[in-house]
């Protein structure tokens, strides 16, 4: 990637673009989704989804495949029509608008660049198809496209064809093409899905910069929780056509409201426990942890590998037998078998800790979440 080099060279240029941006791009809009249902034949893809997005917000739709996140994005774009429900742009019914009238900038996972057009023609496409009364002159279209090419840091590549670009460069061209129509909303479908991890990291930073400059209300679909947490102002976690949780990355990561969200966001282990009279029991052993407002009965204790402290004193702690040791960057991952049911728990310990398989160790979770088992069964 030559992006980082040109990044610095173009920095002053980018600042200038920003001043122009406010007047040049349409004002970003609020987007509301109200109780949207979408069924394909007998299969429901979305069960009554509601969501409010503020103008200028960067929202991630996060979920495993089949969770309905792409269907929701396509409904926002106007490429799909909900069976029930409403979609509002700034309070105006967006479902009455056709795809063309909706004026959304759409970036596809495979970019969908027009392969018979060079980069400049791709970017200018949205302006060239305007009715002649609103169409800018050829020269204006060209200048506008060059300006956008500069914004996405690809100046000099205007004569290239899509097949002559790298994946990351195609992604940027697709982005510039979507920005050219002064969209009211930017919709990105797995924008970094087809790129390798190094390019992904660079492009994430770049996307944030662009978003800060242009200020579009932006919705992006991803199955990568790391990407969602790093980029989004708010994350919408979806599963099986429903919204599981909406919140800031901190809320989602630190206070997941369901076993599904806990296990989908970040790494986790779960242990079956019992809550009795305000105490947590694991396999007949009292744990030194507070159950919060979880009612008496069976429950699931969720914890993250890196949120644990090893303790010498087994009393009140979770203890288990070391099964597998793995080196994980600067740390060591340990698989433990806990209790008589031998539940597998993964924890992370300093690499220099002297450990052997078959040894028993005790640990205490620094953070944890407890969910009643009925809820756990749902997910």
């Amino acid at each position: 990637m030559d992006a980082r080099v040109s990044n610095e060279v173009n920095y002053s240029g980018s600042i200038r673009t920003r001043e122009r941006a406010t007047s040049q791009w349409d004002r970003p809009v609020d987007v509301s989704v109200e109780n949207v249902v979408r069924t394909f034949g007998a299969t429901p893809a979305l069960h009554g989804v509601s969501l409010d997005m503020e103008s200028g917000e960067l929202v991630a739709l996060l979920g495993p495949s089949g969770s309905g996140k792409t269907t929701l994005l396509r409904i926002l774009a106007g490429l799909d029509i909900p069976t029930f429900g409403r979609v509002l742009f700034d309070g105006e019914d967006a479902l009455k608008l056709t795809v063309q009238q909706r004026n959304v900038g759409l970036v596809f996972q495979n970019y969908a660049l027009f392969r018979h057009m060079n980069v400049l023609d791709n970017i200018g496409f949205g302006l060239r198809v305007l009715p002649w009364t609103r169409r800018p002159s050829r020269k204006e279209i060209r200048n506008r496209a060059l300006e956008l090419l500069d914004l996405v840091q690809l100046s000099g590549l205007e004569k290239r064809y899509p097949s002559q670009l790298s994946g990351g460069q195609r992604q940027r061209v697709a982005f510039a093409r979507a920005l050219a129509i002064a969209p009211r909303v930017l919709l990105l479908d797995e924008p970094f899905g087809a790129l390798d991890s190094k390019v992904r990291r660079d492009l994430r930073r770049w996307l944030l910069e662009i978003h800060n400059k242009t200020g579009h209300t932006t919705v992006f679909v991803t199955h990568d929780q790391e990407e969602a947490l790093e980029l989004a102002d708010r994350v919408v976690v979806m599963s099986e056509g429903r919204i599981e949780q909406i919140g800031t990355p901190d809320e989602i990561y630190d206070a997941p409201n369901s076993p599904f969200v806990f296990s989908f966001i970040g790494e986790s282990s779960a242990l079956p426990v019992r809550v009795e009279h305000g105490k947590i029991w694991l396999d007949g052993k009292l744990l030194d942890l507070a159950p919060g407002d979880v009612p008496d009965g069976p429950a699931q204790l969720f914890l993250r590998p890196h949120d644990v402290d090893v303790v010498d004193n087994e009393s009140g702690a979770i203890s288990g037998e070391v099964k597998v040791l793995r080196r994980h960057a600067g740390l060591r991952r340990v698989d433990l078998d806990v209790g008589s049911e031998q539940n597998r728990v993964e924890i992370e310990l300093p690499a220099d800790l002297d450990l052997n398989p078959a040894r028993s160790i005790a640990f205490r979770p620094r953070r944890y979440r407890l969910y009643p088992s009925s809820q756990a069964l749902d997910s």
Binding site: F108, F114, V129, S163, R170, A178
Partner: protein
């Protein structure tokens, strides 16, 4: 150390004259020879024979044969039929493959199979169908006769039979390509504000232009050369309803071999020219063809 041990193995491979994927020498000779013999025997020899026979009686006889009034009429009729049938099948082929590749609807697989019907039906039958429908004794024969419309043994019948016979060529080239390309480019164009027609002419059509051209070339070659179906509906009226292939047959049956081969050589020439056009286009636009493949 390990590198040093492997290196001689790598070097020794080219010197033995073969790689893992190459057959032994005798096998290669046999395979290549078989292919060459087949090519010569079934393609080159017949083609050469046509031209040799055509010029056997000399240049003046050749030109006399192809400028004779019946021959000229046959050439004119053939070009006219192709000029109607090919555009008709371009429109049909585009519409059908657009529907099949870009939309989901009931009966799609039936339509897809129906398109192949002209390939699976004997051309004689496709000619007879039109006689049965529009002939004097046919279903619409009485109505057509009373309105003084002649379809069978006239230009409309020949055009209909040709359209039927060349029906699948364009669609067969386009459907797999359009299915592979999917609908994302079209969705992108629509979201950028393009209308349906703009999307078709600026995105869909350029994406398939080379396959379309190839389909048209094949369709045209077949339209000019179609014999069976046309033979049934044409009535073989000299100077009126004889196309070039029919004219060749008549001359041949009259033992007028030189003239028959002269006209046949024209047909062969037309085929060669279409192929040349195709090759030169591929050569001229090689980079664009490469770019139009899925990147």
């Amino acid at each position: 150390m390990a590198d040093a041990a492997i290196a001689p193995l790598l070097v020794s491979q080219p010197s033995s004259g073969s790689s893992v994927t190459t057959e032994r020498y005798p096998v290669r000779i046999i395979l290549v020879a078989t292919a060459v013999v087949f090519l010569v025997l079934f393609l080159l020899l017949p083609l050469a024979a046509v031209f040799v026979e055509a010029f056997r009686a000399g240049l003046s006889a050749y030109f006399a044969a192809i400028t004779e009034s019946d021959a000229v009429a046959a050439i004119r009729l053939t070009l006219l039929v192709a000029a109607i049938a090919v555009p008709a099948n371009i429109v049909f082929g585009l519409a059908a493959s657009w529907a099949i590749a870009k939309f989901e609807f009931k009966g799609k697989s039936v339509l897809n199979t129906l398109i192949d019907l002209p390939f699976s039906v004997s051309p004689v039958i496709s000619g007879l169908i039109y006689v049965l429908l529009f002939g004097a004794q046919g279903y619409f024969g009485h109505y057509l006769e009373s309105h003084n419309i002649q379809i069978i043994f006239a230009l409309p019948g020949i055009v209909l039979a040709t359209i039927f016979a060349t029906f699948p060529f364009v669609a067969r080239e386009l459907v797999p390509l359009m299915q592979e390309q999917g609908t994302q480019d079209e969705e992108a164009a629509l979201s950028l504000g393009a209308s349906g027609w703009q999307t078709f002419f600026r995105v869909t059509l350029p994406n398939i232009r080379w396959a379309l051209l190839y389909g048209v070339v094949l369709c045209n070659a077949r339209a000019m050369g179609e014999f069976g179906a046309v033979s049934v509906v044409s009535g073989h009226i000299r100077g009126k309803t004889n196309t070039m292939p029919l004219h060749v047959e008549i001359l041949y049956n009259e033992y007028n071999f030189a003239a028959a081969f002269a006209v046949a050589s024209l047909l062969a020439l037309l085929a060669l020219v279409t192929l040349l056009i195709k090759i030169s286009l591929e050569w001229r636009y090689a980079d664009q063809i490469a770019a139009s493949r899925r990147h």
